[in-house]
């Protein structure tokens, strides 16, 4: 339909304008990302003085050597892996069966349960009452505070339910019931093997959330050994700069910066890369599946 036959001079001009705008957007987003990569392996003096502004200059891996030699970063990484793994597992155990039950037309009370879940999207207890409940349950400073208060997300249950409704043929369930198979048997023997795509999507959705989250750790975790990577990063990237707020800067991560003032800049850029690495690796899958998830969400919403 866009054959050149119809393309007037005005339209061509407009086309160039479109490409021009998109290229500006592309460069504006890409530049900071390239800069971080370049800065993490350049001579810090050149980074700080602004002489390195696009491609790496005077390449050094000293920053990465110090980062990988730092115990508190390793400990943070380990804890984040634990929280992400355990948290995502719990998310799946809660989300997938619930979504399947809600997808079944013959499930009495599905309207009630859906309302029970969806209501929490609009009304919440708020920060303080939620904190007090978590504290009263004795979860503060334990691994469980990182994985239980966000054991499920309404939106993800909705997306998984739409998946079950649209991909599992209705006849399948009826046939299984007639054959005398219980719901358990049906779910584990037939439904789950068909659900690999939605399980992968949900694992990615929840996994990225756990990996990137810092706020739960900030309010529920004060034991340094339990700090996830994002809290360690916060000390290096954020608190370090607030000179007046240095009282709680006792961690090894902070010393990493203080004892290497001249390398501080490239250490900062390096930890940004190191901490984002797992997300960067799964990004191609993320993009594909997250886009699908947003689409399903938009269909329902």
């Amino acid at each position: 339909m866009d054959s050149n036959l119809y393309e007037t001079k005005r339209d061509k001009l407009f086309k160039y304008f479109v490409y021009f705008c998109l290229t500006i957007a592309l460069v504006a987003v890409l530049y900071p990302l390239i800069y971080i990569i370049s800065a993490s392996i350049s001579n810090p003096a050149l980074v700080n003085s602004g002489k390195m502004w696009l491609w790496p200059k005077d390449i050094t891996f000293e920053g990465y050597r110090l980062i990988f030699g730092n115990d508190s970063i390793w400990q943070g990484y380990l804890m984040t892996v634990v929280y992400t793994g355990l948290g995502t597992l719990i998310n799946l155990l809660v989300t997938i069966p619930a979504a399947y039950a809600l997808a079944r037309k013959d499930f009495y009370g599905r309207g009630f349960f859906t309302a029970l879940f969806v209501l929490t999207m609009f009304f919440t207890g708020g920060l303080i009452p939620t904190y007090l409940v978590v504290r009263d349950l004795g979860l503060i400073d334990s691994i469980w505070a990182m994985v239980l208060p966000n054991a499920a997300a309404v939106w993800n249950i909705v997306i998984a339910r739409v998946f079950f409704q649209s991909t599992i043929p209705r006849g399948l369930e009826e046939a299984a019931t007639i054959d005398g198979a219980s719901n358990f048997k049906l779910f584990f023997k037939i439904i789950l093997p068909l659900s690999a795509p939605i399980i992968a999507v949900m694992a990615l959705f929840y996994g990225v959330g756990h990996w990137n989250g810092y706020f739960n750790a900030l309010i529920y975790i004060s034991d340094r050994d339990l700090f996830p990577l994002q809290l360690v990063l916060r000390e290096i990237l954020v608190l370090q700069d607030m000179s007046s707020n240095n009282t709680n800067m006792t961690g090894e991560a902070a010393q990493l910066i203080h004892s290497n003032q001249q390398l501080a800049a490239i250490i900062k850029y390096g930890v940004m890369i190191v901490s984002s690495l797992p997300v960067i690796i799964v990004y191609p899958f993320l993009q594909k599946y997250f886009v699908k998830g947003v689409m399903i969400g938009s269909l329902k919403g």
């Binding site: 619930a98 700069d241 990004y283």
Partner: protein, 317 residues
């Protein structure tokens, strides 16, 4: 006749009840499937909702939600009378409205531009790159902002001095806080925000465009009169949701970017609740402030939805 139908109704009801009962018995295992989710939502969402009552009490940890003493609107009055009330409200609304005005139209414009590109490779490249910042953690984003904007070593200030201007202390100048917050948000989420609009645009019937071309419409005219009207329902829904969330701005980033020097313009209700409640342990007072925020939000959502329903026939409910 009347008694006959009553009997029939009674029988029908009895049969219905029996079949409902049978359905529940037959599918009892489905209730086990949904049990973990129900327990989760009750414990971590409904119990805290029940706990909101501490906003009207003097909460004492040893007495719990129920045992603490009622004090009415004491905490609300203290908040409304405090000298910082208007500052908090002004900052909260200021940042939200600023974010909405700048951040709302940009994904629409980017989606319309992307939709004009027929070259699949270039389009995919722009999408892949602009979606990426969505997955960067808020701590890393804040770290980037602080590092890039440093008055002595930040790359942005190097550019500013290169162009012959004085370096700007973005992070310690209250004047700049809102702009820094909003523009970094634009950088992170504009690309991702296009997805929902691109989905709507892919639903446009190509015949409409063909007919318009035959009638001599330019590309720009076709965007104005075919593509934009297609997007209006999506825009309205997103606008309602954004306006309903205007007091609930994502405060995780604000908390990270806040420092004593920019507090004057970065202190918002949500960060104040965090400070008062969790750092100073004034649980009841902070819960009251949080509840005030939530109530304003709920009212805004209902009002905006009502207006949208009256004027555009599109609404959330």
């Amino acid at each position: 006749m009347a008694s006959g139908s009553a009997v029939a109704n009674k029988e029908k009801n009895a049969a219905k009840r029996a079949s409902t009962f049978k359905k529940i018995i037959q599918n009892w295992q489905l209730y086990i499937f949904i049990l973990p989710a129900v327990l989760y939502f009750i414990i971590f969402h409904y119990v805290p909702m029940y706990g909101i009552q501490i906003a009207f009490k003097d909460y004492v940890p040893s007495l719990g939600f129920l045992g603490s003493e009622w004090v009415g609107f004491k905490h609300f009055e203290r908040f409304f009378d405090s000298y910082y009330f208007w500052d908090l409200l002004k900052n909260t609304l200021g940042i939200s409205v600023y974010e909405l005005i700048v951040g709302f139209p940009l994904p629409i414009i980017l989606a319309l531009l992307l939709n004009e590109v027929k070259d699949g490779f270039y389009k995919r490249t722009v999408q892949t790159v602009t979606y990426a910042p969505h997955f960067i953690s808020v701590v890393v984003i804040s770290g980037m902002i602080i590092a890039f904007l440093s008055p002595t070593t930040g790359i942005i200030n190097h550019f500013i001095s290169f162009l012959g201007f004085e370096p700007i202390s973005f992070m310690s100048d209250p004047k700049w806080f809102k702009t820094v917050y909003v523009l970094s948000g634009v950088w992170q989420s504009t690309g991702w925000g296009t997805i929902i609009y691109l989905a709507a645009l892919s639903g446009v019937d190509p015949q409409q465009h063909e007919a318009a071309i035959v009638d001599g419409a330019s590309r720009f005219q076709r965007i104005m009169y075919i593509n934009i009207p297609t997007l209006v329902p999506t825009m309205v829904i997103l606008l309602i949701m954004n306006l309903g969330n205007i007091m609930a701005l994502g405060f995780e980033k604000i908390l990270l970017l806040q420092n004593p020097l920019n507090l004057e313009s970065s202190n918002v209700i949500a960060t104040f609740v965090y400070q008062a409640g969790l750092l100073d342990a004034q649980y009841s007072f902070a819960a009251a402030v949080g509840l005030f925020n939530a109530v304003i939000n709920a009212i805004l959502l209902v009002v905006v939805n009502q207006i949208a329903r009256k004027t555009s026939e599109t609404s959330l409910w």
